[in-house]
């Protein structure tokens, strides 16, 4: 879909996904690493548990469809080559601290004179300006300051984050969207622009307008373990966790009735529940005792069934219940398999094949998806630098000087 768009991707881990999305959508993304590789981004765990930056699974997962070069931006020669690469690019995508590229003379303002159509996207923890612009943050601090942590976790322990970096997962597609918006604006007006994306601010959307709701009708909200609303939403099955909500309303009532029918067939629905008036039920106005009574009845039933049994029956009976899958179970999901979500990439030098989630959207017009594996360190140096006129002899000299 984005064929022909050229992107220089200078990102560290927080921005890998943004570049990957654009690359999987067809843009020509060149990943720029320092000579020797981005060792922080090429960290473990490693393929086959062999410590080697080429085997970094984080790197392999999040840099698909990109070409890769090495370039020392802290050398004058490296910066000159960088500027020549910018000239043939549409977009620069970077995650440096605000001001870092200015010190190198590589910021948007210094490039736009020579290249008025350039789009420069800076993905930073808090945005490129403002009182917290210089604050540092990886995922944990971003999630804490994004309001999600305060509402997540058990009440008797500290707030908690997801064990995978959700801040990057929200900001990545938002940065990609910001770039696409700028490309759309450029197609209409001709000019490029600076796109300023904040990791923390992207994360705020996980709150689903809770700040605005709170400003309107203040109430104390605290993290409450598996009780995501007033009642429990994660339950124990015989062999692990499932999700199920005791929420009422038109869209959910049929599923509550179907669950009770399922319980009744197993002889586990008390009489009062069989005749329950779900039309009159409202989770927000139900009494604590009422919710406790419902939770006890449903919870006792779920505990007698395996997750497999419950999910099979949920699908058959249209009950809104699902297992809390782990990675292996996700890889085994029939629905995802039927849509060919996973694609296998071979890594012949390691004798390995790995399944990756492919870009998921199905287009009636375009082939969308992973086009190539993540690049090895400097894999495309000759090709990419050749495109800006450097010869093999130039590259050998630059390599000897430590510039590439």
């Amino acid at each position: 879909m984005l064929a022909g768009i050229r992107i220089l991707d200078l990102t560290r881990e927080a921005g890998f996904l943004a570049g990957k999305i654009l690359a999987d959508l067809g843009a020509e993304v060149v990943k720029v690493e320092p000579p020797g590789g981005d060792l922080e981004g090429r960290r473990g765990p490693f393929l086959g548990e062999v410590s080697d930056p080429e085997r970094s699974l984080l790197w392999l997962a999040l840099n698909t469809s990109k070409r890769g070069i090495t370039l020392a931006l802290d050398s004058e020669r490296g910066r000159a080559i960088y500027r020549s690469l910018v000239k043939v690019s549409d977009v620069v995508l970077e995650t440096e601290p605000p001001g870092a590229l200015t010190k190198l003379g590589l910021d948007y303002e210094s490039q736009r004179q020579a290249h008025p159509g350039l789009i420069h996207c800076a993905l930073t923890p808090f945005g490129s300006e403002g009182p917290f612009a210089s604050y540092r943050a990886h995922d944990l601090v971003t999630v804490a300051m994004g309001g999600n942590a305060a509402l997540t976790g058990d009440p008797d322990r500290p707030p908690v984050r997801c064990s995978m970096p959700t801040a990057y997962y929200h900001a990545g597609p938002e940065a990609a969207l910001g770039i696409a918006m700028a490309l759309f604006a450029r197609a209409r007006s001709g000019g490029g622009r600076f796109v300023d994306v904040s990791l923390r601010e992207s994360q705020l959307s996980t709150l689903m307008t809770a700040p605005g709701q709170h400003a309107h009708s203040p109430r104390v909200r605290r993290r409450n373990g598996s009780l995501l609303g007033r009642s429990r939403e994660i339950w124990k099955a015989a062999d692990g966790d499932i999700t199920f909500a005791l929420r009422g309303g038109q869209a959910r009532t049929p599923n509550l009735k179907a669950t009770v029918a399922y319980m009744a067939e197993a002889g586990m629905a008390p009489d009062w529940l069989v005749d329950y008036d779900w039309a009159a039920y409202n989770l927000n106005s139900a009494s604590d005792d009422e919710i406790a009574r419902l939770e006890a009845a449903f919870g006792a039933f779920f505990a007698t069934k395996t997750r497999r049994e419950l999910y099979d029956q949920a699908l058959a009976r249209r009950i809104m219940l699902a297992p809390c899958n782990d990675a292996r179970e996700i890889l085994d999901q029939a629905q995802l398999r039927s849509r060919s979500l996973f694609t296998t990439i071979d890594y012949p030098e390691f004798g390995a094949s790995i399944e990756h989630p492919d870009f998921f959207a199905k287009s009636s017009r375009c082939r969308i998806g992973i086009r190539s594996r993540a690049p090895r360190i400097g894999e495309h140096n000759a090709e990419v630098f050749g495109e800006v006129g450097l010869s093999a002899a130039d590259l050998a000299a630059l390599s000897a000087e430590g510039v590439i």
Binding site: L140, G212, N325, L331
Partner: protein, 408 residues
């Protein structure tokens, strides 16, 4: 505030059929940047968000649900009774008006009305249409009803959140509802760019769950490559120690601290002033700190609890340590950085009074964020104006449709 028509998407016309968060949040990106976004709704089967009310004594009707109003600013609403053939025909005429149709119903709905892409494209070859239900348009579970809570569970996020020795808790919110809209908006924008170039429209089938699994590519790849099943592990990390959330002064106040290098650890040990922690032979290297993280966490917590979370954040950030107060909803509303970025913008709603609307994380120029002009619409608020201005109907035609019950 900028005038309408100034946004990036000025002139783009989007027709939205759908409910809840996932679809409507996606089209907001366009509504906030000058596009005309029309929601097709009906009081016969209202968007369930219109039925979420926060208080028992507040206004209690379809036009006074704060979550709906906050999620749908800048949009217009037309009421169409889709159970009547005339209603469906009207919706089809609006498709002719639109550049983009975005819908997130279950797969059977659009086909039942004859509003599936194949039927629509016959008269409208440049049409861009996106469907974004939970499971996607194909596969054995495509008709299964679902909300974001199931999406979060099926895609792995519930399993990944909580403490190793406790039940899963899941991240607050319904994460497929916050992840999928930005992908949907990106795909619509990419399709618009391509249509500008080629004149061709396209149909895009997006599964909300798949957007979440794609986001978790690292976890899937680690499992496929090494058989590793990533679990929930509180706030700890293999790449940093300390890496956690620690108590501060006050009721349920906390600070997140992430020490990403040995140099940062030396800075923190200096701030704490504990000579034992400053002992490089015991705690100087990451491997040492990971091995003793429980002890470090205990000592760090004993130190942080004497401080105000905001003050400690400012002090630690000033010396280059990643620290962030765990912000509450009240904190966010008063946050100086969010204020500097214009994150919140107040609009008045005729039933709910002043409301704090939020912007997304993107700024495409120096300022302001985008253009908030109107709160989420009342159901059918723009019915007559849309029929008149977009479909060229006169008052008699509109009255006749209303009489036959089409416009509810």
């Amino acid at each position: 505030m900028t005038a309408p028509g100034d946004g990036i998407f000025a002139g783009v016309k989007i027709l939205e059929l759908g409910a809840g968060a996932a679809g409507p949040v996606a089209t907001r990106y366009f509504a906030d940047q000058g596009a005309t976004v029309i929601r097709v709704e009906s009081s016969k089967r209202p968007d369930f968000l219109r039925m979420y009310h926060l208080t028992k004594d507040g206004p209690h009707d379809l036009d006074a649900a704060p979550m709906f109003v906050l999620m749908n600013p800048n949009k217009q609403s037309i009421a169409i009774n889709m159970s009547l053939p005339e209603g469906v025909a009207l919706a089809k005429r609006l498709v002719g008006w639109a550049d983009v149709v975005s819908e997130n119903f279950s797969p059977k709905a659009m086909a039942k009305w004859g509003l599936d892409y194949e039927s629509l494209r016959a008269d409208h070859d440049g049409l861009i249409m996106v469907s974004s239900c939970l499971f996607g348009q194909t596969g054995p579970q495509r008709m299964y009803p679902g909300f974001g809570g199931q999406g979060s569970a099926l895609a792995g996020f519930n399993h990944l959140t909580g403490w190793e020795d406790r039940d899963a808790v899941g991240p607050f919110g319904t994460i497929t509802d916050s992840l999928s809209p930005r992908y949907v908006a990106l795909l619509i924008t990419a399709a618009l760019l391509r249509r500008d170039r080629t004149g061709e429209g396209q149909y895009l089938d997006v599964s909300q769950i798949e957007t979440a699994v794609y986001s978790l590519s690292e976890m899937i790849v680690r499992c496929s490559a090494n058989g590793e099943v990533v679990g929930r592990r509180g706030n700890s990390s293999d790449d940093a120690a300390p890496h956690g959330i620690y108590p501060c002064r006050g009721d349920d106040r906390w600070i997140a601290i992430a020490v990403m290098s040995d140099a940062e650890w030396r800075l923190l040990a200096t701030e704490i002033g504990d000579p034992e922690l400053a002992d490089a032979s015991r705690f100087g290297g990451l491997a040492q700190r990971l091995a003793q993280r429980d002890e470090i966490d205990r000592r760090l917590a004993a130190w942080t609890q004497a401080f105000d979370a905001h003050e400690l954040m400012a002090r630690l950030q000033a010396v280059g340590i990643e620290a962030g107060a765990v912000l509450t909803l009240d904190d966010l509303l008063a946050d100086p950085q969010l204020a500097a970025r214009g994150h919140f913008e107040v609009l008045r709603h005729d039933r709910l009074g002043e409301l704090q609307f939020e912007h997304c994380g993107i700024r495409t120029a120096a300022a302001p964020a985008a253009q908030l002009l109107t709160p989420g619409p009342n159901l059918g608020e723009h019915t007559n104006a849309i029929l008149r201005d977009q479909l060229g109907m006169d008052d008699d035609e509109i009255a006749s449709l209303a009489e036959r019950g089409v416009l509810v």
